[in-house]
Symmetry: C2
Subunit: 283 residues, 2 copies
Amino acid sequence: MTSVTAISSEFDQAIALEPDPAEPGCHLGELGEGWQIGGGINGGLLLAVAANALRQELPGHPDPLSISCYYLSASRPGPFSVRTETVRRGRSLATATASLHQWEADGSQVERLRVLASYGDLAALTGEVRTSAAAPELPPVEQCIGMEHAPPQLITQAALLERFDLRLDPATVGWAVGAPAGVGRIQGWFKLADGREPDPLSLLLAADALPPVTFDLGLPGWAPTIELTVHLRALPAPGRLRVSHATRNLAGGYFEEDCEIWDSTGRLVAQSRQLARAPRAQA
Amino acid sequence: MTSVTAISSEFDQAIALEPDPAEPGCHLGELGEGWQIGGGINGGLLLAVAANALRQELPGHPDPLSISCYYLSASRPGPFSVRTETVRRGRSLATATASLHQWEADGSQVERLRVLASYGDLAALTGEVRTSAAAPELPPVEQCIGMEHAPPQLITQAALLERFDLRLDPATVGWAVGAPAGVGRIQGWFKLADGREPDPLSLLLAADALPPVTFDLGLPGWAPTIELTVHLRALPAPGRLRVSHATRNLAGGYFEEDCEIWDSTGRLVAQSRQLARAPRAQA
């Protein structure tokens, strides 16, 4: 296990774990205040934490090819435990579950999320690629909108935004000045603010890093994730990622949010979908 | 519990369960030979079976709003058990897991799949709908291609196809006569052959009922599902469903398959995505 104090990247520090000496397959860590958004810890960071615990338990299968997370209650800064269970170990894939708990003031445990995932080795996959998907067309980074232009009331709710160097496509940030496009799409350039290069675990974070796509539909509230599944499709190359979020069906108080992440070589490295609760329309 | 002998629909009979008298939360049933495809039982049927077990355990939360299934080994006709665990019971959502097992000849148990899901009540959702997604444009049913036109070698591997009245868009069945379109899309009209009307559980079946979309890419082999997540977005109206399957990224031996299901009133009632292993290209 890596010692937390020796880690320079804030992301690696945030997902760092120590094995629980009292329980095999259980890992301990602490959620930092810097990863809060809208009163809880960001769902992508939590997924990366759980995925890191599973990686420790599945030697030879380092990467979540598919990982599904069901969110149960809002996580808070402070200590957590992640319990893991290996379901099946195969040759190319291993399947396992993880559950992340925190403690209430009275000492009782409360479960924050449950994860089910199949791990493999992205580096061992064949090279064949037949992609009809197209990377989002983005203006150059310097013409995109950084969070220094975000309304202050947004920033104060979102320490998380300081962890990212996020540059949004101006065509998809009308909502920041009261003029949402109404399309249901937000896209931009993503990297970690401290320059740490992308890897499979940080892609899980990137899949839930942009503002909720409902902002673009004129619904500015936070949108709690019910379920998030990420497929990692290739190891990402170093450099900035292109990330697009889109929804096509807001109905009955829920919406899906599809995310694609493209690396600096133009490779589609991750696809994700989440089901989230729609913010209530403002009066 | 409903008695199997009193059920007229073959789908309801296929997903029928009896509580295991020996273990609370456990249900028993039998997989029928008629649901086989490519040597195993269809993944959508298995998901519906597990979902039916969870429904028994979550009173007040009848419908899987989101359900994720990880497939572990090929299921065979014969007896099975489904063990369930309730993770969290909330006001509008309840989250639970299920695992389906069968028995080997030596009596040992082998797990076929693991499910994680959040259930709610589709009938209780608000009526607001903002859908930018468009239903697939399909020729009238009588101009679509039924399985009576499928090559006999396909039918013999797939007793499953006799359970469906599936009418595929001629533009997406070139593969059946050796001329795949190469687009990565298959779409058509779906109903159960015995006329049973759609409901949330049969939508889970419909999400994995079409031939693998890789047929349209000129890859005719079977494509084992690694993971399948379905979001049920509305209660379906009676009548034929429109179902579309598409992939945008076949890479490294895997592909995603996105499915949309539209009911007879033109409502988007389910969205699903699976990660599947690509068939090997033929020499």
